[in-house]
Symmetry: D2
Subunit: 123 residues, 4 copies
């Protein structure tokens, strides 16, 4: 799949906000942004929140993503806000709340785990 | 995102097997099939397993998807095998094991929940 | 298992706070509060958050619980704070953050789904 | 909580089977085995499957447990069967299917992640 059109909105301590630009290609029949696009948004927002806290994590990999789809998104941009819950030496865990722009009710909520590579070891 | 190139391989009682055709667009930097493509594969395989058991489920929607990324896929097609664990009146729950074609070790494992619409009620 | 000694601290709109009283029986070898006790706390806090919003839900049942264990709890009471993310006609989804009393870093984070029984239908 | 009365039934390569003995204390109002008891069973079965493959893992800790409750257990022992999906240097991931003794339909299904301690590093 082509990269969805993400735009980084904000990166702060233990936090990242990423916008998925509304675009017809993300629509599935019925007109909402697809589940895989929301999962990609959750993963990307979490990755940026990790990246903000530790450098060169090019090799950090997602090991788990759990997403609840809560409401049908409206036809608008979608915003993912990732907050780190733990940043350990080996694992980073965070939660991501996803909103339609302009609507306070979340459309999805994810928890995401990243494995952080050690200096020398391989997993 | 454009629909990834899925091919239905087998549908049987409580079971569906779907192949994600290997294609450069699915690669992310580093050369593996992307996480979102694997999540889309898990969701699609589960949807077909549900569809095989009950008809007109056009409105069935994914409410939860939990995926563990286990190994880096090789450069080959990826196959998702969905098995229903429960098919209730309101919820269907299944697990999906994902393999690289020709390799018996799973690259990912997902559990997926679909909400099944009632005849008259709306959720 | 005997009921763990829970105490309801606060119930508000879409929210419940429950305290698990520190007690030797909850300790496993090594001295921390056991994972199952934290899972029971998450489930109970979520149940109360649902109960606060809709009455007679005696038949509401947990359909999914996903918990991340983040840090070893200290030897103190443990507090679970549940927030509803969605309260639909059929499903309620919430997140629960769990802290050791007196320590702001979460020891665990859960997402919990409850199935809400319809008036006439059975699932 | 007191330890539930578990009995190890079988341990083999990448596999463990554990029985939770039926006992009134595990019942919650309504008469079924409690969710926390099923979660404890899933965790224990997975721990034994890991322990069968690598020794001294006294410090291995559960980092994630995701459980779907599928059916009400009958009044009988409950059996958890854990299968490892991945045994890496740092993480072990497995799935656990839980049955009521004598009934082939699963009552619950869990995926469990254990963090495996390194020789010298701390996470």
């Amino acid at each position: 799949m082509e990269s969805p059109p993400f735009r980084v909105e904000k990166v702060a301590e233990n936090f990242a906000q990423v916008r998925l630009l509304y675009h017809d290609r993300h629509l599935r029949p019925g007109g909402t942004i697809s589940g895989p696009s929301l999962m990609a948004l959750a993963d990307t927002a979490m990755y940026l929140a990790v990246l903000a806290m530790i450098d060169p994590v090019a090799l950090a990999v997602t090991t788990n993503l759990n997403i609840h789809f809560l409401r049908k998104p409206i036809q608008a941009d979608v915003i993912g806000e990732a907050r780190l819950l733990k940043l350990g030496k080996r694992l980073a865990v965070g939660e991501v709340t996803i909103y339609s722009a302009g609507d306070p009710e979340p459309v999805a909520h994810a928890t995401v785990t990243y494995s952080i590579p050690p200096r020398r070891e391989t997993s």
